[in-house]
């Protein structure tokens, strides 16, 4: 009898083993949220809220200290251990109303988070754009469903160091902002993810570029159209077997988005975000540069025309990609990112050197890159302890990660 049960269990495991992973719903107050009755905060008010806060209630989940940092449209709470919150903020009668949710990046734990800043605890000053050392967020969060049963209190300690903010440090989010496998509410390598990722604390993105059968660069990570990244449909198999029209009409990403063309994705970055860095991770080793570089140039020009400080780098992950790149007429003035050696960086005149993180902090080589007027990023760093070490002991100018809020926390708490 036991053998039969074991056999049935093994067969069930086999059948369920390759199924799509579950969705993690985003906790929400819904359409009747009080936030709909408030007014948005002006830009100068938002900056006053950025800073390091002491957690005086809610430590068991968020630790003793958090960073609050505004992005384009969301307030992000970054914690030391991988917890984070994405928050919407409004004001009514000098009271700041904050609503959103918290998540833990290493599992699916999530819950609601609501708070406010009272008029006499910093609300008036923030609304009027006056810097104040006295800001107290009071509220509650829940550990399950839409409950709000745990007290939360954050007390402002200090601003993010101006010396730190004066130096550029790029927090680059993987796969256009986050991975599908992390159960985010939008799909990786989609325009929706580019729109979402700033709320996680990122200032730049890495996107995966592949060519379709008709030579159109699109964003997609895997070599195949598969049920890991797309909804089940009538099309599957190698992405380069299909034309863009076929992908457009017959494939939807896991949350329903279309696979975007590189052109459309970069246009969204330029027109609709404050993202400052884009790293084009070229999945095709050869014959894609002649297609991608003109799009890169067009979008850099578009950004320049709009007064945007945007950098778009073509990735050079292999010798084949370097050879293809160096066959292009203007390669020496084309912004690029080389993942190989420092000598390759010099040979291709890449602006960015991006070694994988497992090679260590390599401070001597990073210093050498800096003396050449270039910058260095490392990829793809996700572990809290390693992020902490690379930020405190390394000299990289940016880190590519799946968890930008963790990199943000350890970066913004630095003094300089």
């Amino acid at each position: 009898m036991k053998n039969w049960l074991l056999t049935i269990f093994c067969m069930a495991l086999l059948m369920a083993g390759c199924n799509k992973s579950k969705d993690v719903p985003v906790p929400s107050e819904g359409p009747n949220s009080f936030l709909t009755q408030t007014y948005p905060l002006p830009d100068n008010s938002r900056k006053i809220m950025d800073g390091i806060y002491k957690v005086t209630a809610g430590n068991e989940l968020f630790g003793d200290q958090v960073v609050l940092k505004w992005s384009r449209k969301k307030l992000t709470m970054m914690c030391s251990d991988g917890h984070y919150s994405v928050l919407d903020v409004g004001q009514l009668d000098s009271v700041i109303v904050i609503q959103g949710y918290w998540r833990y990046c290493y599992n699916d734990n999530t819950g609601l988070l609501n708070a406010y800043i009272a008029r006499d605890e910093g609300g008036s000053e923030i609304v009027n754009g006056v810097t104040t050392p006295m800001i107290i967020l009071r509220g509650a969060y829940g550990k399950t469903g839409n409950e709000l049963d745990k007290a939360l209190e954050l007390v402002y300690q200090r601003p993010i160091s101006p010396a730190l903010l004066s130096k550029k440090f790029s927090i680059l989010a993987h796969r256009s902002g986050g991975r599908t496998s992390d159960h985010l509410p939008v799909s990786e390598n989609s325009i929706a993810m580019i729109n979402f990722t700033e709320g996680l604390g990122s200032t730049g993105i890495e996107v995966d570029v592949q060519l379709t059968r008709d030579g159109i660069p699109v964003l997609f990570h895997d070599g195949d159209i598969n049920i890991r990244l797309t909804q089940k449909g009538p099309l599957s198999g190698p992405i380069h077997d299909f034309t863009y029209m076929q992908l457009y009409y017959l494939v939807s990403l896991i949350h329903g988005e279309h696979i975007p063309r590189l052109n459309d994705a970069l246009m969204f970055v330029v027109d609709s975000t404050l993202i400052t860095d884009v790293y084009l991770d070229m999945k095709e080793n050869v014959n894609s540069m002649s297609t991608v570089i003109p799009i890169q140039k067009e979008m850099l020009q578009r950004a320049k025309d709009k007064g945007r400080d945007l950098h778009i780098y073509v990735g050079l992950p292999s010798q084949d990609a370097i050879n293809d790149f160096m066959n292009q007429p203007d390669y020496l003035i084309t912004p690029s990112l080389c993942e190989l050696t420092v000598d390759d960086v010099v040979r291709t005149n890449s602006m960015v050197w991006a070694p994988r993180w497992t090679e260590g902090t390599q401070n001597d080589l990073v210093a050498q890159i800096h003396t050449q007027g270039r910058i260095a990023w490392t990829w793809t760093l996700d572990n809290v302890e390693w992020i902490k070490e690379y930020i405190n002991d390394g000299n990289f100018n940016g880190i590519l990660t799946n968890y930008p809020f963790v990199v943000g926390y350890y970066h913004y708490i630095r003094e300089k």
Binding site: M11, L14, M15, G17, C18, N19, K20, R213, D214, D224, N226, I227, Q231, K232, G233, P234, L235, S236, G237, P238, D241, F242, T243, M245, Q246, Y249, L250, V251, S252
Partner: protein
Amino acid sequence: MKKITVIILFCLLACFNVRSQEGNSRVTHFSLAIGAGWSHYFANMDLVPARNVHKEFIGTSFQFMWEPEYRLSLGLETGLYRIFKVDSVLTKEYTMDSRMYMIPLLLVIRMRIVDHFYLSVAPGLAIQLLQIRGIGETISSTQYSFANFEACASYLYPLSKRFVVGCEARFFYIGATNDNIMSLNAVFALRL
């Protein structure tokens, strides 16, 4: 003395056991089987309603089996199944149809449960062929699925020492695309 008796008895028992197997009329042999019949696709697409998916087709199977002993046999199986056909009306101007075929390459482990009735399981790989017509050229694409599983129940009736006829019901799971099909085949087998 007792020890010697036990040893002699043990040896006799072993000899009788061996003889009982050697004396069986079934000896090791190989067989070739071909099957054909109806196949059904369990439509599970998120993007296309099940009513828009053609699910019923003709499927074929080929088996080469090694039947070394009384109950268990091992073998290789292949075949050709059309999994689905989807007609898509994309816009007023554009229609498209996509067809998925599958060629399994499986290792079959089969067991006789009662007379003429067999159960088998078969893990293995599958070659999936996708053909798309509409919007530009006809496109064929091939992909491989490595995590597949088949379960099959067969009734095989020997007509003579060489010829066997029967029917089989099989369920097939394709891991790469999370597709499931079942088929009911008539089978004709030749013992070599």
